[in-house]
Amino acid sequence: MRIEGHGLIGPGTVDFSFDGKRLQGREGDTLASALLANDVRLVGRSFKYHRPRGILTAGPEEPNALVSVGQGAGLVPNVRATQQELFAGLAARSQNRWPSLERDVMSVNDLISPFLGAGFYYKTFMWPRAFWERLYEPIIRRAAGLGALSGQTNGEPYEKAFAFCDVLVIGSGPAGLMAALTAARAGADVILADEDARMGGRMLAEVEDVDGIPSHEWVGEVLAELAALPNVRLMARTTVTGAYDQGTFGALERVALHAAPGAVSGAAPRECFWRIVAKASVLAAGALERPIAFPNNDRPGIMMAGAVRAYLNRWGVAPGKEVTVFGNNDDAHRTARDLAAAGVKVVGLIDSRDGVTSGSDYPVFTGSTVIGTAGRLGLEHITIRHNGGIRRIRTDCLAMSGGWNPTVHLTCHMNGRPVWEPEILSFVPRPGSIPGMVVAGSANGVFATHGCLADGIRAATEALAVLGVSAPQVEVPEAEERPYAISALWAVEGKGRKWLDFQNDVHVKDIRLAAQENFASVEHMKRYTTQGMATDQGKSSNVAALAVLADATGRGIPETGTTTFRPPYVPVSIAAMGAGSQGKGFAPERFTTSHGASVALGAPMIEAGLWYRPSYFPKPGETTWREACDREVAMVRSAVGVCDVSTLGKIDIQGPDAAALLDFVYANTFSSLKVGKVRYGLMLREDGYVMDDGTTARLADTHYVMTTTTAAAGLVMRHLDFVSQVLRPDLDVQIVSVTESWAQFSVAGPKARELLNTILDTPTDDAAMPYMGCGPVMVSGVAGRLFRISFSGEMAYEVAVPADYGESLYRLLVAQAEVLGGGPYGMEALNVLRIEKGFITHAEIHGRTTAFDIGMDRMVSLKKDCIGQTMSRRPGLLDDNLEQLVGLRPVAAAGQLTAGAHLFEEKAEAVRVNDQGYVTSVCHSPTLGRMIGLGFLKDGRARHGETVRLVDHLRKIETLCEVCDPVFFDPEGGRLRG
């Protein structure tokens, strides 16, 4: 029921719906306040027993009022109605009920609840064993539940962002505002974050004066000052969710979810996940009120006293017409006082303490407790014990307060354990739990407004000291300094279940059962009863639950201890945490300069790391990749082919000690390489195994260009940095990756030179650039580089130009090649060409092979030290019985070879102990008219000519193969030099 003229909301009306029913709220409402204004009390069904539940709180701790908002793929389940801002067209639906909230079939669970106590499924559904996964668990999961995801891909935008500051202030109540003000006036970079849309914390929910003006007006003045300062950033709707190492915090900002789709701005993300890095921080997160466990304390209409006050004072809503208040502390009296002052009928204030006085008109029952409630879908009556008698009071709203718990959560995220404070019967943060964090105000157990204001200044002063900044003099504003008196009251005995955890349906008896069954440690109790789990993580219930456990086990509360609060403080959508990393964002695409041209030629592109390379170039009439591949191989062997090889790593190495560095990182020698020459290089890891291979060209005395494989480009660059900085800082050498600065194309085939001479400003010939030569060239007026190297076995060149010219050079080369009967070739043909020549790739140098294994042992120079040399000489790595690189060809022309298959002696059984080796690369060779393969075979170099049996257990293939030299084609290399 709305009380006109009360509260801080706007006059404008907002239409929304709940479970399809059209309702009207006000600007500034939350969904919860708007529902209460419309006298909607029943908003959900509980997790396990499907009991009717209503709105309990006014904040992030809400366990009951969880709704689904939105439609289809964009649906968001488990939204706390207490935090969802109202907007025009908001359509919210209740959860965990069927067919409707009022008539929920599964509420039968509540009738059989004596059989569904804590751990019931461990005891009841034990046999037969197989039934658990197939039958019991799915049924239990369906019956118990929260909202459901849509199951569709969520295409809505989410973002992540980073922020940096000197002082992060978490919470904008009295302590947070004074802390932010103090730090800001000292000139520090301040971020003030608050989960609420409107800053001010409890000062928006109380009737009191600060510095002689209503507290919410005072809040407005402070915020105005802060907003005007250039060193302050105000982040409303931003919940700080976690505290991490070195002053890093996670925070979730609701950017557009609080408004109608598209209302904020077309491009605004729904949520933004922030990582905030702060040199120091002030935690002013306030406190959360806790319920009292009395019989049937969960009916809709029974709410937290502080929440009732907030709905009244901030939103102008009375949650009932005849309100009762039940508490064990002074704060509950404020609720009764404010309600009465607003004209709401208070039919009774029940205080468990004796001898409490209240100068009020409404009835006050001291030394009394609530021992029962009635009302099927909402509260109708309560029963109280007063002066030894029983009394029934008609009421539609009971405001309860079991005291306040400081919001210590963030201080526990780095293993901090809170400390029991008997004065307030709750836990307070242990100082120093988070390096650089100072806790202030209610979060620190200081509950009076004046105390919070002063504590905020104190905390900011300490936080500034972390930065080495002295704080300015800030006056503490005048405000109330009322004492907070409380006496312990955790559970009230009586007939009926006394609920502790409203979200997980845990009641006092469950905790006692856990203790009785020896789940007496607080962490065991939690897992046995599910106390404190799910979306609210027991924000309102944990302290009372462990008080009950302490009582049941005969220990004190401090000895019982708390469970561990872990991040996040509130649920964070995976979409926000992973923003930007879905789909292509997870694996960004790297395109070569020829990408567009290859795609235009119809080439299917395949991934090579993050790169995309053409697989083959289909011609009209070709129906399979093999036809295109065979044609391209034949084209290179008979005419000329063009292939983009820019993805190979290119590393520029310069300096007086460039040669010395190369001698150290390569197994073979590069200081002896002449200027204008290229050499194949083999790079080892320090353990003696092969890391990578490639060619390195000497462009000048002190200038080399190294190429790496595509796969290992980053690894090798880091390795060179490691060697030059960590192992050989004595070398005067500079290294830089130039992979993306140069576009490089292979031109291979008998007509390679003929093709090149159509684009080079000065024609080349064999004398000017013999095999393994290199040098500068002018390519159609552009300064480039030419390398006479071959990965195909044909006469071949690689021509490099600055990347800006890559696309046009590629198009030019392809066009000229076609004139000569050639054309582009892709990765499939490239692979066939190299297997025919026995050239290795990472299929062979896969991290478990040595130079000895691949037949390059003699390349490991013993005249110098190099990475991996010493370890490569270990006797165990030079044994003839090791698996060595061989070629394989099927004995029968149609025989199949498969990569990954294993090799056995012809007659041996194909089992592990008889394993002789394995196959690494295979292809159909159009040149040789059969399949060929590379593999590793025990003592393979001595077994050329032998027959072995290839067995592929997975594909059910067996093939007799002849072992041969890995070089199948042109072993003399005459074509290379042609």
């Binding site: 890095v277 880091r718 940095d721 490691f722 800082p729």
Partner: protein, 86 residues
């Protein structure tokens, strides 16, 4: 976790690649013997507490020697590995 790159200043851990213990700085001579090489290539401490590690700052290509406590998660001084290695 944040690490102070000697070139770029304090940066998020995501920018760094862990590169092993500082043992890597003390590469044995080729003739140092099997035991020394076995230690260098294969054997590492697993300290609970103070540790000295190499971290590679990917954006600038710098190896830094970083003091870190594996128990408290405190990250201490970071210096250029090449300064230590010299």
């Amino acid at each position: 976790m944040r690490i102070n790159c000697p070139h770029c200043g304090t940066r998020d851990r995501r920018e760094f690649t862990w590169s092993g213990a500082d043992v890597a700085l003390n590469r044995p001579a080729p003739d140092a013997g099997e035991a020394a090489w076995d230690d260098y290539v294969h054997l590492r401490e697993n300290p609970a507490g103070a540790s000295r590690e190499l971290w590679y700052h990917d954006p600038c290509g710098t190896f830094a020697l970083v003091e870190r406590d594996t128990v408290t998660h405190l990250v201490g001084d970071a210096v250029l590995a090449e300064k230590v290695a010299r």
